[in-house]
Symmetry: C2
Subunit: 348 residues, 2 copies
Amino acid sequence: MTLSPSCSVPVRHDTVQLAHGGGGRLMRELIEQVFAAAFDNPVLASRHDSAVVPVEAARLAMTTDSYVVDPLFFPGGDIGKLAVFGTVNDLCMAGAEPAYLTAGFVLEEGLPIDSLVRIVRSMAEACAECGVAIVTGDTKVVDHGRGHGVYLNTAGVGWVRDRVDVGPARIQPGDVVLLSGDVGRHGIAVMSVRSGLALGTELESDCAPLVPPVRALIDDGLDVHCLRDLTRGGLASALAELALDAGVDVEIDEARVPVHDAVRGASELLGLDPLYIANEGRMVVVVAPKDAARALGVLRARPVSSGAVRIGSVSKKQGAQGRVSARGALGNLRPLSLQSGEQLPRIC
Amino acid sequence: MTLSPSCSVPVRHDTVQLAHGGGGRLMRELIEQVFAAAFDNPVLASRHDSAVVPVEAARLAMTTDSYVVDPLFFPGGDIGKLAVFGTVNDLCMAGAEPAYLTAGFVLEEGLPIDSLVRIVRSMAEACAECGVAIVTGDTKVVDHGRGHGVYLNTAGVGWVRDRVDVGPARIQPGDVVLLSGDVGRHGIAVMSVRSGLALGTELESDCAPLVPPVRALIDDGLDVHCLRDLTRGGLASALAELALDAGVDVEIDEARVPVHDAVRGASELLGLDPLYIANEGRMVVVVAPKDAARALGVLRARPVSSGAVRIGSVSKKQGAQGRVSARGALGNLRPLSLQSGEQLPRIC
């Protein structure tokens, strides 16, 4: 896409029109006055179909996520913040230093321009917080009733330093599983708005960038085996995926998993399992036992992961596929497998 | 996203369910059996939140586009092919060698799985044709009536070789403007399906990758000043954007712009101007006069640009902003400015 922060006619409509996606004057105005104004940076200003950026390491991490969260604004965040932090976090999970993002907007005809401006500003703030830049973007407009205000895609690239090797393939029997904080806030915060549920507290989404703790783990020279952020499907699904992909068994101690009282209360009310509820600022960290205490110390020293705890360990798989189980308060073991669907749709 | 081509249970639904986007078992099955099966490559198979790829040049080009074309399948292409060629072409426009793509799917609940499979296979074929790989992806599902089958985002990265410098900033008065082929096919092909228009001919979209001619121009050592593919808004809007961004005037000879008879006929019938109709496999090439003949020869030697012609030239801007004008058959000049909206919405 071409972005040009040149002229400065005010946006002449209150809502998004089909013509805002048409490649003509209205689209150019929207890009200049809404997107370029918020995301301003030298690469974006180069006005070309592709952004060209300098390379800073021998390996590149790439990721993408689309965001369709309903509602667009929720306690503790909005779709814009989610789209920046979510993609930045995915880059962090490869041990990469996030650098540049792309942004693809699918706008629904009739979306208030004010809502779009609010989302775009939130994205710009989130980028500043993470030290990344949106260097190129695209806007499409779909007919009213064929979208939901905004669907947003962000793709991201980051640099992977020499000797960093983080991924499921490195998980080994004996490894320790750390969790960076309490679980289930994002899902319950979104659900509470959607259902009008009064939680008797101001529970906010945990939506946050995991850059500081991941950067600290890498800078500290810790040999991190695997990182995985907890999103759709929650802690249980993230661990189940890792167990399947790494071909190992994982056992966690359920009593050690922190759950906020409001999350626990709402979960009981709604018949949901907090271990399966979505998060947007939490991760698991898998390290060798010898590194566990030091990694925990590094995590706890950063605000976003100050509630980090050791929750379990990895062992050789017993069956044909890697499996996860949770030990309850009475010593009983329950399996944590991938659920068929999800508890709450359109959560991210 | 995590992609895992391990088990091989057949997809157990005929249509997309909300649960296919839930982060659980159904999503994993969809990813394994539909996406991983088609896009199979070693990076994708690494099963992690980000793909990690080796760096091959000192500069990286990045781009993104979302695709919302209606209908999903049209003569000469489909949304999948469009999404691969469109993003690959944007990378080419920076003089980059396209390398890796990401794919973000927003699926509408109820989409036939068969349609999705057809689109995904078409993407895989398109990638093979361009020599690029889809290395990571994401799937979201929105409620029935909140989408349109598939909205698709592709972001791409490519390598920019040393000494390559292609962009609007390099356009100079005196430069020559070349066009790679006839215009308006994509817009009319899509429109003909949407309106049930019988064109009395099998007009197909021009949807195609511009990799071969761009690679040839660069390999030949031609000092290409600027490349711009013609998409939404057609030839006229692409030139108007370039004139604004480069701060120059452009004059083209309208009689030299090739237009297929069926495109001309349909345009007259519908009251459309072929110069503003969308294309998906055409570009303009701006070079110094001394390079024009050689560049034209290079273009004509590749099938996708065999119809290349010289259409105009660049001059110093006369007004406050750069402008484009077209000289008609009778010697009259008409301005080609950015239109307010677009002639046909949801064209790409």
